[in-house]
């Protein structure tokens, strides 16, 4: 266990270093570069700014400085939001993304797991077909269609919620629903497929043969195994949801991390674009380790090895 953790953490640090390097390389390939198009700026002022942020140095020196910043957890300043550290911006955007992402994840789990299990227990009945069809429809309803439709119906027509913005305490509802409905569809499909496969296995027949009740067979024996693919899927998805969906945050004009990343990429705010990529990678690494540990706890046949 300890060896597993250490090796995964080492691997995670390697992933984060790679992501930092790639994000740095990509940012620096954006034509123009930071501080080139500052309005009404004299060449001297531009040069002073470039010197202040260190972008006048050769690329390997800049990359080294980035690594030093992250290794010492003393993150650089944003190139665009002058005087604000990138950690400060992430700290302001992440709660917004999380306030949407966590309810979306809970909606998806609270609906997807029971609906999927319900369908798996009644294969090829009308209920099964209905929920499978609903799940297929959910998967085919992209957020850029579903989001505006929900905003139009519940925001602009019924006026139950704000159609966009981040002002009211209820502004998380529509974006969370948009994301939640889509992921509900995926989780329903995964749960159904996985539970049906598990129920066909021999240990289930054994459990039934020794007289275990149907509830206990499904929930104690089968679900424990059937949930593994769902967990596997949840690792990266949880990270995506927590760091904000680029589309949903754009539709609802939320000041979350996804929005900050897109504007940082367009504004040539390299330090912020790199920081958000690194933050995202770190979350994925952490969630994947958590998922691996949970899987080993649920399935005695999985051993954690380095």
């Amino acid at each position: 266990m300890i060896r597993f953790l250490i090796s995964r953490i080492v691997q995670g640090v390697f992933v984060i270093a790679m992501v930092l390097t790639i994000a740095f390389a990509l940012s620096n390939m954006i034509p123009g570069g930071p501080f080139v198009k500052e309005r009404n700026a004299s060449p001297e002022a531009v040069a002073a700014q470039r010197a202040y942020y260190g972008v006048d140095k050769p690329w390997y020196e800049q990359l080294r400085l980035h690594f030093v910043h992250y290794a010492t957890l003393d993150l650089p300043e944003s190139y665009h939001y002058k005087g604000r550290g990138v950690d400060e911006i992430i700290a302001s955007g992440f709660p917004v993304s999380a306030a949407v992402g966590i309810p979306a994840l809970l909606i998806a789990l609270a609906l997807g797991l029971p609906i999927g299990a319900f369908a798996a227990l009644r294969p090829n009945t009308l209920e099964d077909r209905g929920s499978t069809l609903a799940a297929s429809l959910g998967i085919c309803m992209p957020s850029m269609v579903l989001g505006p439709v929900l905003a139009l119906v519940f925001g602009l027509k019924l006026r139950w919620f704000n159609a966009s913005g981040w002002f009211d305490s209820a502004d998380w509802v529509l974006p969370a629903l948009t994301l939640g409905i889509i992921y509900t569809a995926y989780i329903t499909r995964l749960t159904r497929g996985s539970l049906r496969e598990t129920l066909a296995q021999e240990f289930i027949r054994t459990a039934r043969a020794k007289g275990a009740g149907e509830t206990s067979v499904v929930f104690l024996h089968a679900m424990k195994l059937a949930i593994l693919p769902v967990l596997n899927y949840l690792g990266p998805i949880a990270a995506t949801l927590l760091t904000g969906s680029f589309i949903v945050e754009t539709i609802y004009q939320l000041p979350g991390l996804g929005q900050f990343f897109v504007t940082a990429a367009i504004n040539k705010d390299h330090s912020l674009a790199i920081a958000i990529s690194v933050f995202y990678a770190a979350l994925i690494v952490v969630f994947n380790i958590v998922v691996d540990i949970l899987q080993a706890m649920l399935n005695p046949r999985i051993r954690l090895h380095a």
């Binding site: 691997q11 995670g12 390697f14 992933v15 790679m18 992501v19 790639i22 994000a23 990509l26 940012s27 390939m29 954006i30 034509p31 297929s136 429809l137 998967i139 085919c140 309803m141 992209p142 850029m144 269609v145 989001g147 505006p148 439709v149 139009l152 602009l156 497929g193 996985s194 049906r196 496969e197 066909a200 990266p236 680029f246 589309i247 754009t250 539709i251 990343f261 897109v262 990429a265 367009i266 674009a273 958000i276 990529s277 995202y280 990678a281 994925i284 690494v285 994947n288």
Partner: protein
């Protein structure tokens, strides 16, 4: 086995095709896609309008005899724009999937055939790449390449090959110790000859299945990029562009969002249905899981 009756076996591909069209849902999905592809490919030639042609007297008008799906705020014919946008979206979907499939097949085949340490390292690389925040990279890439249409599918294809590599490598591992491969090797066939002549035909089934499931994902990514203003650039249109334009004026002209949204969702539904159908048809064992 019915071969005794017909005195003639049927090839696995034929059997899979029969299983595929046994489901009416699959036939509908296939039919829809064929009609859609024909409409998108040929429709713009028959339309009396150009997709970018404006009629400012009309502004955003509802459906009429001369404009079957109405016009947008610049007086452009919506049906023409949707078909043109569909062509762009389908092109991106197919070409990006082709790029991803080629990378994935070559990578997976080399890893599986090489085996041993090379295989272990190559698959570790895939594991590590799975933890990368690829959408962030694609967004940065799109800012770099800007308005270059052809780079969109290279960029998307370059990040969507990972699962394909795993699928192909798994197939190759299962195949490479079978007798016909050992026989080929014994008679002096080289690495690439075995890969190209003997393995490739045998991994095509799973490759086609997985590719068909990749197309809708790629189309969604393209639409997302265009929606964010980073993909296809107006006045050119893809479904992502049209949905974005529709969403920005949906309060006054809801049909501008509705029509392209319906076309896009129906296409995704058909592609997903067909992909699932193909998987079940090629792998009857998976029926228990998904059927």
């Amino acid at each position: 086995m019915s071969s005794a009756v017909t005195n003639q076996g049927i090839s696995p591909t034929r059997a899979a095709w029969r299983r595929l069209i046994r489901s009416r849902l699959n036939v509908w999905a296939l039919g829809f896609l064929v009609v859609l592809v024909l409409l998108c490919a040929l429709g713009p030639f028959f339309s009396p309008y150009d997709q970018a042609q404006q009629d400012l007297n009309l502004k955003a008008a509802g459906a009429s005899a001369s404009h079957w799906l109405g016009t947008d705020p610049l007086g452009r014919d919506m049906l023409t724009r949707i078909l043109h946008g569909g062509r762009v979206s389908l092109e991106v979907g197919l070409l990006a999937t082709a790029v991803a499939s080629i990378i994935g097949v070559v990578y997976g085949m080399v890893a599986g055939l090489a085996g041993g340490r090379a295989d272990a390292v190559m698959m570790r690389v895939v594991d590590i790449l799975f933890a990368f925040p690829f959408v962030n990279f694609v967004i940065l890439l799109m800012v770099i390449v800007g308005r270059e249409f052809w780079l969109i599918f290279v960029a998307i294809g370059a990040v969507e090959w990972l699962t394909m590599a795993r699928v192909v490598r798994g197939q190759v591992l299962a195949l490479k110790n079978l007798e016909f491969i050992i026989a080929a090797r014994a008679s002096g066939a080289g690495f690439w000859h075995i890969a190209w002549k003997h393995l490739l035909p045998n991994v095509m089934g799973p490759v086609i299945i997985y590719a068909s499931l990749t197309v809708p994902g790629v189309m969604l990514l393209e639409a997302a990029l265009s929606f964010l203003g980073l993909g296809i650039q107006p006045p050119d249109a893809s479904w992502g562009v049209l949905i974005q334009e529709g969403a920005s004026s949906m309060e006054t002209y809801p049909w501008l969002l509705l029509y392209p949204g319906l076309f896009f969702s129906a296409t995704l539904l058909a592609l997903n249905t067909l992909g699932d159908g193909l998987r079940d048809a090629f792998d009857p064992k998976s029926m228990a899981q998904h059927g």
